[in-house]
């Protein structure tokens, strides 16, 4: 669709560049590759934004970073096409300059990751908004990616977004999910990175024909590098997290209901307003020490 017939003011300027980062997902029961649940929700959010904006006001692209090439018809290809089926014409594969050529000699440091590629590519493309799922289903699935990207780009990161209400090129108004179904409206300065978790609306159905017709286009974007951070990780088998037991104080059904439905009470804590950045940081540090997070 062409943008020329729109008269919206922001039309005059270049469209808002939005990038949706998508990864390979995996079904928890069958282990089969598919579109990742949270990434699909992130893309859904972008598609909704595109739809609610004037035609042409949003230019959406979806990227998948991959260390190797993806063969047509492979399981990876099929899984990524799940995103195309949501109504995208193409999906960009961000790959290293020589994919699959194993440029790394150091065998003792085998950890390479594609996220630095994404950083390079994002710096080049300079979109205003990057949206991704909070946690991947394959690979490490550590949920660190949005943080690593935000840190490297020096952008703000907002997590748990459930709706993008408006976006005017300089700011973004979005709803963030809080526990117990509460929502917080945020205004974020662009460029920014937002991540989406399972509180966001479910992704639309992926249509087979559209998935098949869509295009996966490869974009070489730099060299594969070591992931120094990941190399420092210790890997251990997963343990089930202990759950904190709830002491039930309520004696009647009514009390129990009230306790279940009550808002999380702030209790302690301090509201800081009009303080300088240093004072604020000092307060936060103090709290972290008190709580034993920092020692």
């Amino acid at each position: 669709m062409k943008a020329d017939r729109s008269s919206v003011a922001q039309q005059a300027s270049a469209p808002l560049e939005v990038v949706s980062l998508v990864s390979l997902g995996q079904h928890p029961v069958s282990g089969r590759l598919r579109r990742a649940e949270q990434d699909a929700r992130a893309l859904e959010l972008c598609l909704a934004l595109e739809r609610q904006s004037a035609p042409g006001a949003v230019s959406l692209s979806a990227w998948h970073a991959s260390g190797s090439e993806i063969a047509l018809g492979s399981e990876q290809d099929q899984a990524l096409r799940g995103y195309l089926g949501m109504g995208l014409e193409s999906l960009t594969l961000v790959t290293p300059n020589a994919p699959g050529a194993a440029p790394l000699k150091a065998v003792d440091q085998p950890v390479v990751d594609v996220w630095p590629l994404l950083v390079t590519r994002l710096k080049q493309a300079a979109p205003q908004l990057v949206v991704c799922g909070g946690q991947g289903e394959t690979g490490e699935g550590s949920g660190l990616l949005p943080h690593l990207l935000a840190e490297s780009l020096g952008w703000p990161l907002v997590e748990g977004i459930v709706a993008i209400e408006s976006c005017d090129g300089a700011h973004l108004t979005a709803l963030q999910a809080l526990p117990r179904g509460q929502r917080r409206r945020l205004r974020v300065k662009l460029p920014a990175l937002v991540s989406v978790d399972s509180a966001a609306p479910a992704a639309r159905q992926s249509a087979f024909a559209q998935a098949r017709r869509g295009e996966l286009s490869t974009l070489a974007s730099g060299e594969l590098v070591h992931d120094a951070q990941a190399e420092t990780f210790g890997v251990a088998p997963a343990r089930k997290r202990p759950k904190r037991l709830k002491r039930i104080k309520a004696t009647s059904a009514r009390d129990r209901f009230k306790a279940a439905a009550a808002k999380a009470e702030g209790g302690g804590g301090k509201r800081l307003e009009g303080v300088s950045a240093e004072e604020g940081a000092a307060e936060i540090l103090k709290l972290l020490r008190e709580e034993g997070v920092l020692r």
């Binding site: 029961v29 089969r32 035609p55 949501m86 249509a207 087979f208 024909a209 559209q210 017709r213």
Partner: protein, 736 residues
Amino acid sequence: MNDTILSVLIFTALALAALGAVKRIGLWRQGRADATSMSVGELIASLAKVPRRYGVDLHHVVARDRYMANTHVATGGGFVAAALLMVVVYGFGIDSAWLGVLLLLASGAMFGGALFVRRRRLDPPARLSRGPWMRLPKSLLVFSASLFVMSLSLVLPEGVGGMISGGILGLVLVAGIAWGLLEMIVGMTGGGSRITGPTKHAFAGALHLAFHRRPARFSTRDSAGIRDSALLPLDLTNPEAPLGVGKPSDFNWRQLLGFDACVQCGRCEAVCPAFAAGQPLNPKKLIQDMVVGMAGGSDAAYAGSPYPGDEPRRAPGQHGGGPQQTIVGASPHARPAAQAVDSDSQTVASGPIQMKAAPGAAGEATDGDKLIHEFKVLVEPETLWACTTCRACVEECPMMIEHVDAIVDMRRHMTLEQGATPGKGVEVLDNLIATDNPGGFALEARLHWAADLDLPRIAELQAAREAARDPRPVEALLWLGDGAFDMRNQRTLRAFVQVLRAARVDFAILGAEERDSGDVARRLGDEATFQSLATRNIATLSKYRFARIITCDPHSFHVLGREYAAFGGDYLVNHHTSYMNELLAAGRLSLDATRLATLGAVTWHDPCYLGRYNGEFEAPRSLLAALGLEVREMQRSGFRSRCCGGGGGAPVTDIPGKQRIPDMRMGDVRETGAEVVAVGCPQCTAMLEGVVAPAGEAEPQVLDLAELMARALVLEASTQGLATSTTQPTDAEVAA
């Protein structure tokens, strides 16, 4: 003088009819062509089949309504004979007393028939359309009476005859005949105009019989017609071709011809469970909407029952379309197929509701397209999703129209192209894609209910036999179906295993290698997932040697037995009721009917996929007889059985209506006063057991035939050990 007028009138009418015929054929040919085009020889051969197909197959359906069948023979037959004679006598002016007598007989018969048509129309049942159809008996009476009196002049002596055919009376008679010619001959094809009359069904119907898309339904001199009920495969090989039917011109031309043959008798409407439940579906209206779409225009002229519910929005006149316009409107999600993308941006509709004309979007704009601008959509999506694919409409349709094919074709477009499957359908399809079963379970979980039964896996059994150089194939492969994940159906399966063991059947299961058959995916329009499941299941089955497949699920039975053939899977498949009947007949089961003496009267609910789809009505009934049970048939049973609402993905798309289909079916059961409703389908069991009885009424028990059989089994000493292990938990569960 009047003879000359008549002759001119006759030839004018015939010429107009021919003109209209050409136009009508053009409308049909907007549809997709066949894979291979027809030669002239085939064309003639097809046309030559019409008399037999009409006289035998079609009449077989019409004759279910004796009154109408006789009326139709008299009226229709009389008219055809009268019209032919009229052309000879008045058209070519060959008059003889003999021809006059024949003409008298023909028009007399027609008049007699028309009187009955008129009687039916005095207080027509709701399923019949009004509008021009209310005018028809008058036209018939006027025409036949005029012709009768006119032809008296041929037999009566010169003077009297001249008095009749000449003068004022003659003019009146000519006018009456002219009315009839306009209604019956010109109206048959519309004479080149857009308005056609009720007799269109004769023209389109005859050709539909000749070029029907499922020739196997018709009998030939040496074979009877079959219940050709397998859905036709969708060709998925070309990624650029739009899948399914998105606009009327996407139908195969034979389908368009079929829609045009609809005589608006409403028999389909009268049997449709979704219509009765107040869901927004009426198969007759749907077919008429397809005709509207094919010709272009609005549904304002439709004079039958609308889609139920939501009156103002569904009133006639609110919907319309054209041959090149999307039927359900653009999906909110869809990106149109490459060649459908239009350069001027007004094509792409913004939502499912408001859509604009798409001149030249794909193919050329036709007359039909030029007419439509203001209409929203031709059919609302809920209409298409309300269908349970029970095939009751197809079974009843005297014009042999294939409603289910059309509905599934349109669903295919919505699912595969638009990604617009409603309700829980998406979840079910996603699960099928990711886990090969609709519930998203691990495939090993399919066997949890049989942990203590030690069911033989065919892989192990075959390996053991090969090792022992035992050439025997397994006697029966038990296909468990997705009911195996459902606790209620697990009881049925245990009972059936008990029966198999008592009969010492050499059977085995696939175990975790079994996937969903693809039934639900296919009915929800996801042909891609269906074909993926089908090809993988066929690959699995090809590894093993077995004499036949048996299953307790009529849906799997139908899909494995009928629909896998197109993908290279040719098996002998038996529903468990047929198989048990066979075991019984072979003397491999002994029953003690007294054990069921306390059960009370029983009624049998024919599952559509067993009965109407595959013609098995006898086996369950003879089993019930062998069990010594008193069987009370429901009014709608056998080929007229009313669906339970569980087919076609209807429970997952869950389109709201005024009442629920299973409630109505349970009402049918209660009417018989039976205490037990015997079923043969996990889905029927679930639907019927989910019904809550009205206050103060006892709910009939829902029991699978396998359960009834298991209760009456007499075990020989040697099989005792084998069978008791299955008996105990079953009984405990039943008691619980």
